[in-house]
Symmetry: C2
Subunit: 323 residues, 2 copies
């Protein structure tokens, strides 16, 4: 029997990486809800800059149909983490590796609370994806994954899983410091996922942290628009500095130059719409907890002030569909 | 950094599987002695029924040049196991997976005595290989590997490593009962490795367990010759029954039909010369401990009589170069 993999949350993220592993011949089970009929019938198609392909994975509606796995990949939106206790236990025994591919902070901790800390991993995904429709995912750019163990250095198993990702065509590295890697990724996510949506409330609202309920909303701003306007660009940089400052206060040692590197990298992305913008425009709840509130909470707990982040969260939670 | 692999004992076995992993892009370090110059200069060539290939692995003469690894594959002859304490510690830390690909019983135990039992694995190799000359290995047939954890069921890491072997072109399964798998393989190895060599002392000697030192030696018998002569064939079957009986006494539940299956499988091998015959004809020490003495010791300890095996060992140790 080969390595048995389950993908929970087969949106763009889980679907894409799960499909790559399935294409390389791994035994991958997809836990599906709305896309079940379509993927059962016609498989999962990936329209990718690296070449299109289609897989016919094993599909399930309930985790009990899949049973215990060696590796569970979690691609759910973090707004659906409340479903962990229902979805995951049938897939997990005391040996199962549980890897969250999700955005932001706190996901590994929620998994550790359910299953203990020993077999929890995190994978940070640097990838531009869209779910076009049921059964079709578009891969626009990038794809790199950085993997690590929860609260401890890399083990041989971590590198073995990373090799399997690589063998399936995904550039994949491992990190001995998953927490630091999360903060490093937030240097990009906080400004571009956050400001991109908050921009709909207008610059004054974002700067002041005040917004009148019911006021008309403008447009979200993709990455290039945020960088083109000096006022927004300044906010991007200030937020990056706050995130870097908080990370360093927490002991994560992220150099100040990380801000410039992210700006440079983002210039090459064109008009990219971060996942939060897509969620917002589709009227779906935003990943406020993992991307914004948990970083703020940790910064506060470490005694580091992040006023721009605090104001951003005020606006995001007012304009988000969750209310 | 990818999965860092060391191959210790780069004869036919270690060289073949290490080369396959290296060919798939894994970071494989070969610890070499006599073949160092050749492999450094021209790489390692595999002339295989599945297609020829050549790799240029990282070569080292001393384990210190390689340093700590994620996975150490051991392909040494078991007659060289006394070198474990010198060769292995520089490659192993508290996380390193140490997998013996060697023949017979007792190898995992020797590794566990050095490094503790938690990260020891065994891989049983069903493959026909010859080392033709330094830097050239001939792969004649088969290749399957059965992997397991020492003294416990398969873990996700076991399946992940097995997947990497598969991705490199090696059919690979995992077993929850490595000890049983070893005994199952001995059902073949004991008669064909043992009788094939002992035949040089003559039928009467093998049956009686008595041989006069200095008496002239005849030829070894490859698999087809052992099966073609009814007297030898009967001894093959009796030895198989002893091994199966001992295994069952030890609780390993090997069905009696295993003997017939092995006979059938061997008929398809043609005139195959098991590794012990090659060792004997080259004047090298035989793997008496792992293939014969340790099985006998375990059978005795379980109170199961194996007179054919005992007589076989008497002859083998008298005619073997070790004396």
């Amino acid at each position: 029997m080969g390595l048995k993999v389950a993908v929970v949350g087969c949106g763009a993220l889980g679907g894409f990486y799960g499909a790559r592993l399935a294409q390389r011949g791994l035994q991958v089970h997809f836990l599906l809800r709305s896309d079940y009929e379509t993927v059962c019938r016609q498989g999962l198609a990936i329209s990718s800059v690296d070449g299109d392909f289609r897989v016919r994975p094993q599909c399930a509606r309930q985790p009990e149909e899949i049973g215990r796995c060696d590796l569970v990949l979690i691609g759910l939106k973090t707004t659906a983490n409340y479903q962990f206790p229902r979805l995951l236990p049938p897939l997990v025994d005391e040996r199962t590796l549980v890897m969250t591919l999700q955005n932001g902070l706190g996901n590994e901790e929620q998994l550790a609370a359910l299953f203990g800390p020993d077999n929890i991993l995190g994978g940070l995904c640097f990838v531009c994806l869209n779910r076009v429709r049921p059964g079709l995912i578009r891969h626009l750019a990038h794809g790199r994954v950085v993997m690590g163990e929860f609260q401890r250095p890399v083990l041989p198993r971590t590198r073995a899983v990373a090799e399997l990702f690589r063998q399936s065509g995904t550039p994949c590295e491992t990190t001995d410091d998953l927490a630091r890697a999360h903060w490093e990724k937030l240097v990009w996510n906080v400004p571009f996922n956050g400001l991109g949506v908050a921009a709909a409330a207008g610059y004054e609202a974002v700067v002041s942290g005040r917004w009148t309920a019911g006021a008309p909303l403008g447009a979200c701003l993709p990455t290039d628009a945020l960088l083109a306007d000096p006022r927004w660009r300044e906010l991007v940089i200030e937020l990056m500095r706050e995130v870097i400052g908080a990370a360093n206060q927490l002991g994560h040692k992220i150099p100040a130059a990380c801000a410039d590197e992210n700006l440079e990298r983002t210039r090459n992305m064109g008009a990219y719409r971060a996942s939060t913008l897509v969620d917002f425009e589709r009227g779906q709840p935003l990943e406020l907890d993992s991307l914004f509130r948990e970083p703020l909470r940790q910064a506060k707990a470490a005694g580091f002030a992040t006023p721009r982040l605090a104001a951003l969260i005020e606006i995001l939670q007012r304009i988000s569909p969750q209310g």
